[in-house]
């Protein structure tokens, strides 16, 4: 039954169109039932693909257009364990979002379900496809559905602004990718990634290939929200419906990082091999900038969804650093970290959704102490903060220690300090919110009180706030957190991901199995072990997070004792950083142009 490979993409598309078609007849429960059943089925299908590709990768040629003598005309799904695993992970988050939505919206029509399923199908296609143009089209589909989902509350102001900024910046990123595809097609005459890679192996890194790589990377890094291409993200995440934020933060932006990794190892690893050190420096520089900017902005927010959005930007920076080390062990670390981060961040967004559902505001200070009655949600939120700090021995810790071990091995040992700061700041912000909202610690009013207005959001038209929180809305984040705790503790899970990452990075083998259907014998990979140092770093970042949260909640006297000039300087720096995030789409595109041009120029100078 080879056609099962296409089903994770086809099933949600068919179901989504069917949901739209039957809208006049449909009942609320029928929409819910179809959507949840399809999402569960997609998880099962992806699990089958994951299991099959574990022993031997799967290539499926659409319409039976197989390659002849290594030349492709058709479009392939090239499924390896890492791609199938990521597709399965995205399907799990789609299911979580749909189950949460059952009671979150009072009247989400079939269109919402259809959009979520389309989004899920596009993400699965993005993970499974082996064709460059197909990858870009799935990117565009994912984007278009995401713009519509962001503007779901179309009658309000903020979602319209967020969706317009999101759509304009990501569309430009998409056009940059089309340029990259056209350049590579001109050079190689191929669209299949494996065939492009095989053709480029014979080339050195001439300017055309370098420019093609730079524009493709700039495009996908826009989706991944790398600084300075990230401006759209906070505007969109702050205003999108909470269940949709789970998909945006948990897996969509990570797919941008996945695409960069896929493109590098399949297509550019050959010509870029002599320039490995320079490319590593470029990617790590982007990653560090993103991680630190996101972490600082995260700590400054009082709008909780916006805070979580900047936290995602910061963690994407860590992913880009891990990817930028360009080794299979660091990539395995990124994969583990993506799973841990996705589950934890999804749970945090869903807890924030409970607050929004109950109190119709998401402002940290307006919610001061009001969360006391929601004890389970409070515990989950604080636990999410602890996990986000990389406390040993949970999933985020396992991923982070793999990346850190690889970083020390490639002479980037100082990245460990960056990661510790980032984990402490982002988790400290979450713990600060937990302390203030659920325990009533710290002062009840804060800086920029006018920001509270932007944080008021009504989940439905009729009611401002409500008395009761449905059980499913607490159960889903708790289940996600349990998974975030458990994944890395399952014996054999992390070594399996390490094996998958080693296969992902095998440039020669990929071309062999996609183009010639050759059987592949993977070398055995020795699993890495957690060292004492890793535990120490994990404890350090967790302790740092607790200290920062305590300082933010109770440290007002301490802050007041700082010299006046230092305080003024800090305030100016903060105001400047905030001012950059102006909400003006023209500014964002100007930054995008500057960032993409800088990336292109640096690549041309360093790699040409």
């Amino acid at each position: 039954m080879p056609h099962v490979s296409a089903l994770p993409i086809v099933t949600p598309f068919v179901a989504a169109t069917a949901l739209v078609a039957i809208r006049p007849l449909a009942r609320h429960w029928l929409d819910d039932l179809i959507a949840v059943a399809v999402a569960a089925a997609v998880i099962a299908l992806c699990a089958v693909l994951l299991y099959r590709s574990g022993s031997q990768p799967v290539t499926y040629w659409m319409g039976g257009w197989r390659p002849s003598h290594g030349v492709t005309i058709g479009i392939s799904l090239s499924i390896d364990p890492l791609g199938a695993g990521l597709a399965a992970f995205s399907a799990v988050l789609v299911l979580a979002a749909l189950i949460y939505s059952l009671r979150y919206f009072d009247a989400a029509g079939g269109l919402y379900h259809a959009l979520v399923l389309l989004f899920g199908g596009a993400m699965a296609g993005f993970c499974l496809t082996g064709d460059l143009f197909n990858l870009v089209v799935f990117f565009e589909l994912m984007g278009t559905v995401a713009y519509a989902l962001t503007a779901h509350r179309i009658e309000e102001r903020a979602p319209i602004q967020g969706a317009i900024n999101f759509a304009v910046t990501n569309s430009i990123a998409g056009y940059a990718m089309f340029i990259g595809v056209a350049l590579l097609y001109a050079r190689t005459g191929a669209l299949n990634m494996a065939q492009i890679g095989a053709a480029l192996d014979a080339h050195r890194a001439d300017p055309l290939v370098v420019v093609a790589m730079a524009v493709l990377f700039a495009g996908f890094l826009t989706k991944a929200a790398a600084v300075p291409l990230h401006f759209w993200l906070a505007d969109a995440h702050a205003v999108a419906p909470t269940p949709v934020c789970v998909l945006f933060s948990g897996v969509m932006i990570e797919l941008g990082v996945y695409a960069v990794a896929r493109l590098y190892w399949v297509m550019f690893a050959g010509p870029m091999h002599p320039h490995l050190i320079a490319l590593r420096a470029i990617l790590v520089a982007i990653g560090v900038t993103t991680a630190l900017t996101g972490a600082v902005m995260c700590f400054l927010q009082r709008h909780v969804k916006r805070l979580l959005a900047f936290s995602s930007i910061s963690h994407v920076g860590v992913f880009i650093c891990g990817l930028g080390l360009l080794g299979h062990r660091a990539l395995a670390g990124v994969a583990v970290y993506v799973i841990g981060h996705g589950l934890t961040k999804a749970a945090l967004f869903l807890c924030a959704g409970v607050l929004l559902h109950r109190f119709a505001t998401i402002d940290e200070f307006e919610l001061h102490g009001r969360g006391r009655e929601l004890r389970a949600v409070g515990i989950a939120f604080a636990l999410g903060g602890v996990l986000l700090a990389g406390a040993p021995p949970f999933t985020l810790f396992a991923g982070k220690s793999l990346i850190e071990a690889a970083a020390s091995g490639s002479g980037y040992g100082w990245l460990i300090a960056v990661f510790t700061v980032v984990s402490a700041l982002t988790a400290g912000a979450v713990l600060r919110v937990a302390g203030r909202v659920f325990l009533g610690w710290g002062p009840a009013s804060g800086p920029d009180p006018q920001q509270a207005r932007a944080a008021r959001e009504r989940v439905d038209e009729l009611r401002d706030a409500r008395e009761h929180t449905p059980r499913t809305m607490v159960a889903v984040p708790v289940a996600l957190l349990a998974a975030a705790i458990a994944v890395a503790l399952i014996p054999g899970a992390v070594p399996a991901i390490e094996r998958a990452a080693a296969r992902f990075t095998d440039h020669g083998a990929y071309a062999a199995w996609v183009l010639r259907g050759a059987g592949v014998h993977w070398p055995a990979i020795a699993p890495s072990h957690v060292s004492f140092d890793d535990v120490l770093y994990g404890l350090l970042s967790s302790g740092g997070a607790l200290a920062l949260a305590a300082l933010a909640l109770f440290g007002a006297p301490l802050r007041a004792s700082l010299p006046g000039s230092l305080r003024a300087g800090l305030a100016t720096a903060v105001a400047g950083l905030r001012g950059l995030h102006s909400g003006h789409v023209g500014d964002y595109v100007a930054w995008w142009t500057a960032g993409a041009s800088a990336l292109g120029a640096v690549c041309l100078l360093a790699l040409g």
């Binding site: 143009f133 089209v137 565009e140 984007g143 278009t144 713009y147 519509a148 503007a151 179309i154 009658e155 309000e156 102001r157 903020a158 319209i160 602004q161 967020g162 969706a163 317009i164 759509a167 304009v168 569309s171 430009i172 998409g174 056009y175 089309f178 340029i179 595809v181 056209a182 350049l183 097609y185 001109a186 669209l191 505007d235 702050a238 205003v239 709008h303 916006r306 006018q450 920001q451 207005r453 932007a454 102006s582 909400g583 003006h584 789409v585 023209g586 500014d587 595109v589 100007a590 142009t593």
Partner: protein, 114 residues
């Protein structure tokens, strides 16, 4: 092979980007976005063009005759479909922005900063 199509593609991309950056009207922003996208059409068609090549319709011509590359034309068609969707969605959002903000100047759309 002439460099003209490539020069035109670069010009359209840069001019469109400038339009998006400098626009004081969201309708203009959306139209400039489609100018940026037009550059990808020109580039793709330029890549697949062969001088004195015929249109890639092979039903009634001998197969030996020189044809321009049909693949890039298919890519452009896909590209146009995507553009139609995105532009339609964006224009709908702009209409809605006009209803809610009473303005289509991107500088007036800053609810997150009040």
């Amino acid at each position: 092979m002439s460099f003209l199509p490539y020069a035109v593609a670069v010009w359209l991309f840069v001019a469109g980007l400038w339009g998006v950056v400098a626009s004081r009207n969201l309708v203009r922003t959306v139209l400039c976005l489609s100018v940026v996208q037009s550059s990808t059409y020109v580039l793709l068609l330029g890549v697949g063009y062969r001088s004195a090549g015929r249109a890639p319709i092979v039903a009634d011509v001998p197969v030996v005759s020189k044809l321009v590359d049909p693949t890039v034309q298919v890519l452009v068609l896909t590209d146009i479909v995507i553009e139609a969707t995105v532009i339609a969605l964006l224009l709908a959002l702009v209409v809605q922005a006009h209803k809610r903000f009473g303005s289509v100047d991107p500088a007036d759309l800053r609810p997150l900063r009040d």
